[in-house]
């Protein structure tokens, strides 16, 4: 199971992949495409990535997590166009007890957001679109209306 996928994420399958008879606690995190951003209506979005680095960085995060806590962990992130309500990222963590399962799951999503080269382009109801920039004051850098997404970078 690859970390990056253009197909809908099989959340049940991801959870199943971390199950084991000794694991008494399973936590999961689902990121879901929402219909608003900074008070603006979002109609759809598109994820792109520096895929080889994103895969490598995710693997590093998973290895760190397994070495820091006694858990089994799995992760998948979507790429490409997505509709409102779809699952964009899923994390499943199984631990012997809930404490390590919760903290490890939180660690994975926070590190992913900080380190993994994935980008999100939002399309708004007013016809504008832009790259999401968590460091910008309003969280988005607008492009010209109708500007074409760079497919080359998205598919690498």
């Amino acid at each position: 199971m690859g970390v990056l996928t253009r197909a809908p994420i099989d959340v049940a399958g991801l959870t199943k992949s971390v199950e084991a008879s000794g694991r008494g606690a399973i936590t999961s995190f689902l990121g879901v495409v929402r219909n608003h951003h900074c008070g603006r209506e979002v109609t759809r979005l598109e994820y792109s990535a520096y895929a080889p680095m994103a895969e490598a960085e995710c693997e590093r995060i998973l290895a760190e997590t397994s070495s820091r806590w006694p858990v089994s962990v799995a992760l998948q992130h979507r790429l490409g166009p997505m509709a409102i309500g779809e699952v964009s990222v899923a994390i499943a963590v199984a631990g012997n007890h809930r404490d390590e399962a919760f903290v490890a799951c939180r660690y994975v999503i926070e590190e992913l957001k900080r380190r993994v080269p994935i980008w999100k382009r939002e399309y708004f109801a007013d016809g504008t679109e832009g790259w999401v920039d968590p460091t910008a004051c309003d969280g988005v850098v607008l492009a010209k209306v109708g500007e074409v997404t760079n497919e080359g970078s998205a598919s690498r």
Binding site: Y47, A49, Y50, M53, H77, L112, P117, E147, N150, G152
Partner: protein
């Protein structure tokens, strides 16, 4: 030609700028109008030097002074050295999740 001279020529050749492949993504690719390019980086150059060269290209002024960067799939600080054969990636602010 004495061997010392050959050595000098060899050293002079090593001072030639090295072509470095630079990958661009998201907003940066749109600014430059390309998802990859090649810039001539002086020997003992750094990622910061690569950024300076890219910023001189049409559209490059829109890049931040200190973008995130990676060499060969690993994030690095801007003072990291670049050498022939490496691939430098300039990374817009990450927005996964």
């Amino acid at each position: 030609m004495p061997s010392e001279d050959l050595s000098i020529i060899s050293q002079m050749k090593s001072l030639d700028p090295t072509p470095i492949r630079v990958l661009l993504f998201g907003r940066y690719a749109e600014l430059l109008g390309a998802d990859h390019l090649t810039v001539p980086v002086p020997v003992s150059g750094t990622v910061e030097g690569v950024v300076d060269l890219v910023r001189q290209l049409p559209g490059g002024q829109g890049l931040p002074d200190r973008p995130l960067a990676a060499i060969d799939l690993v994030q690095v600080p801007l003072n990291a050295s670049v050498r022939a054969g490496v691939e430098v990636a300039l990374l817009p602010p990450m927005a996964g999740g």
